[in-house]
Amino acid sequence: MRAHSPTLRALRVVRPLGMLAGAAAHAQPFGPLQQEARPFVRASEARAMGDAVAAVPDPETAFFYNPAHLAYLPRPYRVTVAGLGAGLSSGVSDKYAYWREELRPATNEGLDVIRETDYPRLEALYHGALAVGRRQDVARATAYGPAVQARLSMGDWDGAVGGGLFGTGAARLRFSDGGAGLPYLDAYGQADVIVPVTAAARIPRTPLAFGLTAALTHRRLTAKGALVETLDEDRAHLYVLSGTTLALDAGLHAADVLPGLDLGGAVYGLLGGGFRYRYRGQRIDLTGNGGDDDAAEIEALEARFNSRRGHPTWRLGVAYRVPLPAEGTPALDSVTLAADYVSASTSEFEQPIEAHLRAGIRVAVTRVLSLRTGIRQGYLSFGTTLVVPGVELDYAYFGIEDGRVPGQLGRYNHHLRLRFGLF
């Protein structure tokens, strides 16, 4: 085997990573919970670690963050039987209480009736909407179906394949001032069923690994944008649109470019990924009063959801495995520092460079317990993973920027995940 200087090795690795990034150089950033956003299941591990994971191989991040990570599967196979995850941003409970206790009963009774009979209640209703809802809040739920990852070897090539079934849904709600103090309701919901299949391999005699993920996604989404005063108890429906897409992601990882230093990168939606949404007769009746479909609203929704198409996005990362002394740290298994640049915006705005930076630390205390912390867009994150035979429990607390620049409109979130399987 030829020996390589660290510099040469670094150059050989950086070049393909740069080409990978170049493939997505024209990427248009898009925010989460947008109709064109790429389908993926957010990993608790990534959230807790400030979302800096591109160069930190982990089976958890192989399907949706960097397919090349699967090449480093630490055991012959890994199986998830089932699991559930739920996440809430910190204002969701207030918004839900407002909807359940005030807005929904008022819409049922009829805002025009309340205006005639109980004006102070109408004022309180409108002021409450703006006070409780001016910031966006998000609730998210994820169902983990069966997923399998298994190592494979063919000649000099070592790698792994995997596939799984995931369901994830999220809802966003906020109220803005629709003019002269009247609240404007902006609600959005999205549910994805995703079947990813990933294959990854290490390239013999190089520090490189690559991977590909093909993911079939069926997405349903709905939205409501209306002044509260125009909500009609007989027509308060959420119309559900749906579409299906097949997308291809690609990833690269390079280990020990310099001693302890790894690089990673991935391009999402390299091929495919576009949805064509249609209304297929499904709707959610918010008040239970029935009523006819609103053809104009449905047409407007189809136009809105089909007006923008997703484009490839990408991430590049670097990680450093802190060398631990062979003796003297029995409580520490590994310590990894990482930083990523993520091209996608986390809001509906184009964000400046600092909003795309991520940094994090992972400390594997033992094989049972991991601690993570990080900074994402200037917001602190932390979390932990506890693994006992057959069960894995994760918690993550993290912040996201919903505005244009970090610090403008931050949103903190909690996420809890429980899964069963062989991890």
């Binding site: 910031r135 944008g225 005063e229 450093y320 802190v322 930083a339 400046p352 600092e354 930076l357 505005g403």
Partner: protein, 307 residues
């Protein structure tokens, strides 16, 4: 480990330098970005910052309709004035007169003092009950924010260099005597909407602009009638007729209030066009109440019409 720490330190320094360098890229230097940032500041509840950003945007691009509408809207929000205040004031004006109270001694005269030395039939009408425009709930607070109302109005109506006002002339009555016919506002809706759309504003922002214009025009005319008349006036609720006013010189009152009546009419057309744009019953009902009030005060204010 020391080597690792050195690497970490170098990384941190590089990251810090990178972030500092990036600060330049995040500074907003165009009106659209400042507008976006102002909206975000509003969402975060920082209205003063939103105003500062919008005023900066307006200085950069005085003809930017979106900035003008947003700033007018924030002025009202900061002054805690909303369309519900207007609705409440309209409902106050449209309140029915209380049942007639027989005067002590059964003289048959009206139950309120007149506005001057001349004869006013309402003073002696048992169906008429005097009231003051300032009796409406929250009036003092609203009047205290008159400057915000004026500032918002100026944003929507001033003509910026090289551009036109946000609010079109089509919302104003060409002739007050024929402004309302058979209970309908007579103005060119299509022309008004086309002019608003020509500003480049999306319908949601047009609706917002119309709400702000309706609220501020109404308050402006209300403040004028309540505070700025040159002769003392006594207002009456008259059972079966609506509203009435007693003054020393009714013709001078008509002349003096023509502008305020035109403003009131524009408030109604703004809210009417907004209701047209949005649909829904609540938006329409504010207009319907306003029309009742308009027709009631029209008997006493503005130009004398008809034969």
């Amino acid at each position: 480990m020391p080597r690792a720490l050195r690497l970490c330190a170098v990384g941190l320094v590089l990251c810090s330098g990178f972030l500092v360098a990036c600060d330049y890229t995040s500074s907003a230097d165009d009106a659209d970005t400042l507008l976006a940032d102002a909206r975000l500041a509003r969402q975060a509840g920082d209205l003063d910052k939103a105003v500062a950003l919008l005023e900066q945007a307006l200085a950069l691009e005085p003809g930017h309709a979106g900035v003008r509408v947003e700033l007018a809207s924030v002025y009202l929000q900061r002054a805690e004035i909303d369309l519900l205040d207007i609705d409440r004031m309209m409902l106050f004006l449209a309140e029915p007169a209380p049942p007639p109270v027989p005067p002590p001694g059964g003289s048959g005269l009206g139950n309120g003092p007149g506005g001057g030395g001349t004869f006013c039939p309402l003073e002696y009408d048992p169906r008429a009950t005097p009231f003051a425009l300032s009796d409406v709930e929250g009036y003092a607070a609203l009047l205290g924010e008159e400057a915000a109302v004026e500032a918002a109005l100026a944003l929507l109506h001033d003509v910026p260099p090289g551009g036109g006002p946000v609010m079109p002339e089509a919302l104003r009555a060409l002739e007050l005597c024929t402004a309302v016919v058979d209970g309908e506002l007579t103005y060119d809706r299509a022309e008004a909407l086309a002019a608003l759309r020509a500003t480049g504003l999306p319908d949601v922002e047009i609706a917002s602009a119309l709400a702000v214009n309706g609220a501020t025009r109404f308050l402006d005319s209300y403040f004028f009638l309540a505070e700025e008349l040159t002769q003392p006036a006594t207002w009456y609720r008259v059972e079966g007729l609506g509203l009435g006013a007693c003054v020393e010189d009714p013709l001078a009152l008509r002349e003096e209030t023509t502008g305020a009546l035109a403003d009131f009419f524009e408030a109604l057309t703004s809210l009417d066009l907004r209701a047209e744009l949005l649909g829904g019953t609540a938006a329409r009902e504010i207009v319907d109440h306003g029309l009742v009030v308009y027709e009631a005060i029209r008997l006493y204010l503005g130009p004398v019409c008809g034969s």
